[in-house]
């Protein structure tokens, strides 16, 4: 209980400080702390799957993405609009307070006992062969959402690349990295990825029965691929590389193909033949992990930039 209050207070304090902060680097550092604190909150809420995702994506990948952005727009605070005047700011604050109050009232007045699908998940999880209820929802009961979300990532890669300047088209993604001499960073870039890959495989594999799974594993893999890139030891392949594009599309394409096969043999999209559910789900999970990892890394690295 005490821990709840503590984490809650810290989250609110860090969020306020992020919004109010003056320097961009400080704001992003605060945001990384926000992500870490949120993952503690998820542990307290009994959602370890989400805690893992929040730590990996919220704090880790988003942190790296926003830090890179902060260092590149630093000094050019290209404001999109003018800062709202005092009266406008007060009006916005009142409006936001109203939203918060309405939300709080709604949360406090939710019905008790809470409606829940947990019993239905428990009753049907046997058909999937999985032990982790969240994985069962993601891969079977609401498999469509997961499929669409993997397609969203492919679309995001296409969309991000479409923002490249024309003269950089087909080039290597991301800004040029300084090639560092053998320093501590280079050491870490060599040491950490093998350990990280082990952890990712572990997280993927236990994901069928315990918290973990493809998103978490993919986020870790993406981070491990980016480490040597950040150390200047690895140059990402050009976006025109066929294998790179195939790798990003392969997982979602396989998932849709298996879904269509389910329609042809079982009569419903994403229906798994009885007895084959678990192996098919694991094949899809592994393929998706690889594709999502590459997509996430490409999204953080960003589209090709102008030659300096």
């Amino acid at each position: 209980m005490m821990a709840d209050g503590l984490i809650a207070a810290a989250i609110l304090g860090v969020a306020l400080a992020t919004i109010a902060s003056r320097g961009t680097f400080t704001a992003v550092a605060l945001f990384i702390a926000y992500g870490l604190l949120l993952s503690f909150a998820w542990v307290r809420l009994g959602a370890i799957d989400i805690a893992l995702t929040e730590a990996a994506i919220g704090a880790g990948l988003s942190g790296a993405l926003l830090l890179g952005a902060a260092s590149r727009v630093a000094g050019r605070g290209a404001a999109m609009d003018r800062r709202p005047g005092r009266a406008m700011t007060v009006a916005i604050a009142l409006g936001c307070a109203g939203v918060t109050a309405a939300l709080a009232a709604a949360i406090l007045l939710l019905p008790d006992p809470a409606p829940s699908l947990a019993p239905q998940v428990a009753a049907n999880i046997g058909a999937t062969g999985l032990g982790n209820p969240v994985a069962a929802v993601l891969m079977s009961f609401r498999g469509l959402d997961t499929l669409l979300e993997s397609a969203v990532l492919v679309l995001a890669v296409i969309a991000a690349w479409s923002l490249a300047p024309d003269d950089a088209w087909g080039g290597k993604p991301g800004p040029m990295q300084p090639v560092l001499a053998d320093g501590p960073l280079a050491l870490l870039a060599r040491l950490l990825p093998p350990l990280g890959i082990l952890v990712a495989v572990h997280v993927l594999w236990i994901g069928k029965d315990a918290p973990g799974g493809k998103f978490q594993a993919a986020a870790i893999l993406a981070a491990m691929w980016m480490l040597p890139w950040m150390a200047g030891r690895v140059v990402p392949p050009p976006i025109s590389a066929r294998w790179l594009r195939v790798a990003v599309a392969a997982g979602p394409a396989l998932f849709i193909a298996i879904g269509l096969a389910g329609w042809m043999t079982q009569g419903a999209f994403l229906a798994y033949p009885p007895g084959l559910a678990l192996p098919l789900i694991m094949v899809v999970e592994i393929a998706l992990t690889a594709s999502i990892a590459i997509a996430l890394a490409l999204l953080v690295i960003g589209p090709p930039g102008r030659r300096a």
């Binding site: 005490m2 821990a3 503590l6 984490i7 810290a10 304090g13 860090v14 400080a17 902060s21 003056r22 320097g23 961009t24 680097f25 400080t26 992003v28 550092a29 605060l30 990384i32 702390a33 870490l36 604190l37 993952s39 503690f40 542990v43 370890i48 805690a51 893992l52 730590a55 990996a56 704090a59 880790g60 942190g63 790296a64 830090l67 890179g68 902060a70 260092s71 630093a74 960073l185 870490l188 950490l192 350990l195 990280g196 952890v199 572990h202 997280v203 236990i206 315990a210 918290p211 973990g212 978490q216 986020a219 870790i220 981070a223 491990m224 980016m226 480490l227 950040m230």
Partner: protein, 88 residues
């Protein structure tokens, strides 16, 4: 014993959260990074304590992931650190 371990977890959290104002106050960029790193390490310690106290193996997995990503975030921060003190 589990109660004691959970208490210890809360104490670690209190301790590292108390360091958070350093992110805001700085003044050096490295201070901000250190405070975030301390939060990560403290979170790992608290997860391990709570995991043993409640016999939840998945807490250790969460700690593993946190350890990896905290290192990753630290490096990202060190790389992106602006010269000077992040003046607005």
């Amino acid at each position: 014993m589990p109660e004691l371990l959970l208490t210890a977890a809360v104490i670690v959290l209190v301790s590292v959260i108390a360091g958070l104002p350093r992110i805001l106050r700085g003044p050096a960029v490295v201070d901000r990074i250190m405070a975030a790193q301390l939060l990560g390490t403290g979170g790992i310690a608290a997860l391990l304590l709570a995991g043993v106290a409640t016999a939840t193996p998945s807490f250790v997995d969460a700690a593993l992931v946190l350890a990896l990503l905290a290192a990753f975030a630290t490096i990202a921060m060190a790389r992106a650190a602006p010269r000077g003190d992040d003046a607005p």
